[in-house]
Subunit: 295 residues, 2 copies
DNA sequence: TAAAAATACTCCATAGGTATTTTAT
DNA sequence: ATAAAATACCTATGGAGTATTTTTA
C-alpha cells in the first residue's frame, strides 16, 4: 500500500539524485531509504530510478511521477489549509436575514466589518420579517437573523445588539408636523398605519402599550408589512405611524419625523442563531458583531 | 505526520458515518480506527467529525476536507496510471528523423502502425541526412533515425529494416528512356547528379562502385542534398541519376525511371537509436517496426 | 438498557538502524 | 582505492488487536 512516506522519500531522492544525501536530509539512514524506494517501485510496477552504483538518475516514468507527486503534495497542503480556514470560519458561506429596519441601523456596519475580517466568506442576504426568519432558521435556510425580539424558541441563541427610541412619522402637511416634538395624547384621534402583530409581536406590543400610556387605543386604518411601505402610506397621508428612529435614514419627501414628548420604550434589534449546529462561520459573525457593538 | 492511511480511514468513516461499520469495511477493529482519526484531527488542528455517542456527522471543515481528499486520491491514481503508461512507452513524446527517401517507402506504414498502437505518444518529425541524424542523436535532439547505413558509432543500435534495388532516373526526352531497361555501360558518357558523399557514404559508395562495375567513373556535374532536388535536376535535363527504386513514388513530369540490366547492390534503410538511455517509447517504436517488417 | 465511541493495555509487524558486502569508476 | 548502493540482520516504534468503560438516546 502506497503511503505519503514513500512519496516524500521519493521526492527527496529525486531532488538529490543520491541515496546517501537524501537519507541525511530525511534524518534517516541510507539502507531503509533504499528499501522504501524499492518497495514503492514494486508497488507502482515500474522503475523510478535508473541506478548504477555510481549515479542515480530518474527514468522517464520517474520524471512524470515526480511531477504528479508535486501535485499531490500541493493538493494535500490545499486540503489542510482550506480545512483549517473553514474550521476557523474564515472560509465558507453565510446566509443572513434581517428585518427591513435593520438595514437602516446596525446591518451596514456589521457587514462591512465582517467582510473585511473574513473576505473569503460569501454572504447571502434576505430581507424577512421576524417570524419568517424564525421559520427559515429552523429549516436551515439561513444561519443568522436580525430580528425584533423577543424570540421564544429555546434552541435559538439570541442577543439584543441595538436599541433605539420610537418617533412619530407624520405627513408633511399634518398640523402636528409644525411642532418640534409631539405629545402622545395629541395622537389619540389619528389614523394609524401599523404592521400585523405576527410579524414582530414585541415591537407591536410596545407601540400599542405606548398609545395606551397616552390614553387611547390606536385606530389602525391600514396594515403594511415593510417599513418602507408604512412610510409611503404616511407620505400618501393615509395616517401616522410610530416607528424606530433609524427609519429617519429613509428620507422620503412628504414625511417628517418627530420625537415624542414622553419617554418611549426602546425598540430593540437582536441577532438570532441556532444554538446547536452553529458553524464556525456563525461564531465568527457573532464575534464581529460583538466587536462592532463595543465601539 | 499525515499518511495516506489516515486519509483512507477518514474517507471511509465519512462515507459510513459510523466507526464500527467503517472499521469493518476496512477489515480492522474499531478502536485503532478511532485512534487514527483522532491522530489525524490533532495533526490537522481541527475537528473532522462532530461525535455524540449515538451519531457521527461531518463538521463543515470535515466536509470540505473530504472533497479535497477525493482530489488527492484521484491525483494519486493519475500519478500511478501515467507513470505506468510512460514506463510502457504508451505515453510520452518521440522525436524521429529520416532521410528524404525513407518518406517514400518504410516510414508511412511504420508511423501509421505506431500511432494506432500508442496514440498517446506525440511525434516530432525531422527530415535530415544520415550524418545530421547521427549528430542529432548524439545531442539528444532526436530519439530514433531512419538512415542509409552503415553507422560506425558503437554506442548506437542499428538495424537494417528495408532494402531496395537501384534504378536510373532519366529525363523523359533522353534517348535511353526509350529502352525498357538500361545497361550500365551505356551510362558511361552521361552527366551524373549525385549527393555529397558525406550525407550517406554507404549509398554513395554503392553507386560509385556500381558505375565502376560498368567500366567508368561517373561524371558528376551537379550535387544536390535532397532526393527531390536530384529528381528535379534530372527533369531539367541536367543529367541522369542512380537512385533507390522507391523514388518512383515521387512521380515528376519529365522524369522516367528505368531498371538496370545488371544486378545492382541493394540500397538499405536502417533504424538507429542510442543503445544507452533509450526510453521505453523508443523500445515500443522498435517493436512496432519489427512487427511491420514481419508483414 | 443497548448501541456505539472512547480508554487501557497488549502484541507484533515493519519502519528504521547497524554492520557488511558488492560494484562501478 | 573509494564512494555509494545493496544486502543481511537486528531493534523498537507505533499500528492494530482485545477487553473494558463511558455515554446518550
Amino acid at each position: 500500500m502506497i503511503e505519503l512516506r514513500h512519496l516524500r522519500y521519493f521526492m527527496m531522492v529525486a531532488e538529490e539524485l543520491h541515496f546517501g544525501r537524501a537519507a541525511e536530509r530525511l534524518h534517516m539512514a541510507q539502507p531503509p531509504l533504499s528499501h522504501q524506494i524499492r518497495q514503492l517501485e514494486t508497488e507502482l510496477g515500474f522503475q523510478l530510478f535508473y541506478r548504477t552504483k555510481r549515479s542515480v538518475i530518474l527514468t522517464d516514468a520517474g520524471q512524470v511521477f515526480w511531477g504528479e507527486c508535486r501535485k499531490i503534495f500541493w493538493q494535500l497542503e490545499q486540503a489542510v489549509r482550506t480545512g483549517q480556514q473553514v474550521s476557523r470560519g474564515e472560509l465558507g458561506q453565510l446566509a443572513i436575514a434581517f428585518v427591513s429596519s435593520a438595514a437602516y441601523n446596525v446591518l451596514p456596519q456589521i457587514l462591512r466589518s465582517f467582510r473585511s475580517t473574513v473576505p473569503q466568506v460569501s454572504l447571502e442576504l434576505h430581507e424577512l420579517t421576524t417570524d419568517q426568519q424564525v421559520q427559515w432558521l429552523r429549516e436551515g435556510r439561513i444561519d443568522v437573523g436580525f430580528v425584533r425580539p423577543p424570540i421564544e424558541d429555546e434552541t435559538f441563541g439570541c442577543t439584543t445588539i441595538f436599541q433605539e427610541p420610537l418617533v412619530v412619522a407624520l405627513p408633511k402637511a399634518h398640523a402636528l408636523a409644525l411642532q418640534s416634538q409631539v405629545a402622545l395624547s395629541t395622537l389619540a384621534g389619528e389614523s394609524f398605519i401599523l404592521f400585523p402583530r405576527l410579524l414582530a409581536p414585541g415591537l407591536y406590543d410596545q407601540i400599542i402599550s405606548l398609545c395606551q400610556q397616552g390614553g387611547f387605543s390606536p385606530n389602525v386604518v391600514q396594515e403594511a408589512i415593510q417599513m418602507q411601505t408604512i412610510i409611503s402610506l404616511v407620505a400618501a397621508e393615509m395616517g401616522v405611524a410610530i416607528v424606530p428612529i433609524s427609519l429617519q435614514n429613509l428620507q422620503r419627501t412628504g414625511v417628517v419625523y418627530r420625537p415624542l414628548v414622553e419617554v418611549t420604550p426602546k425598540a430593540a434589534i437582536a441577532v438570532v442563531w441556532r444554538k446547536l449546529d452553529s458553524s464556525a462561520t456563525v461564531q465568527r459573525f457573532l464575534e464581529v458583531i460583538e466587536q462592532v457593538m463595543q465601539r
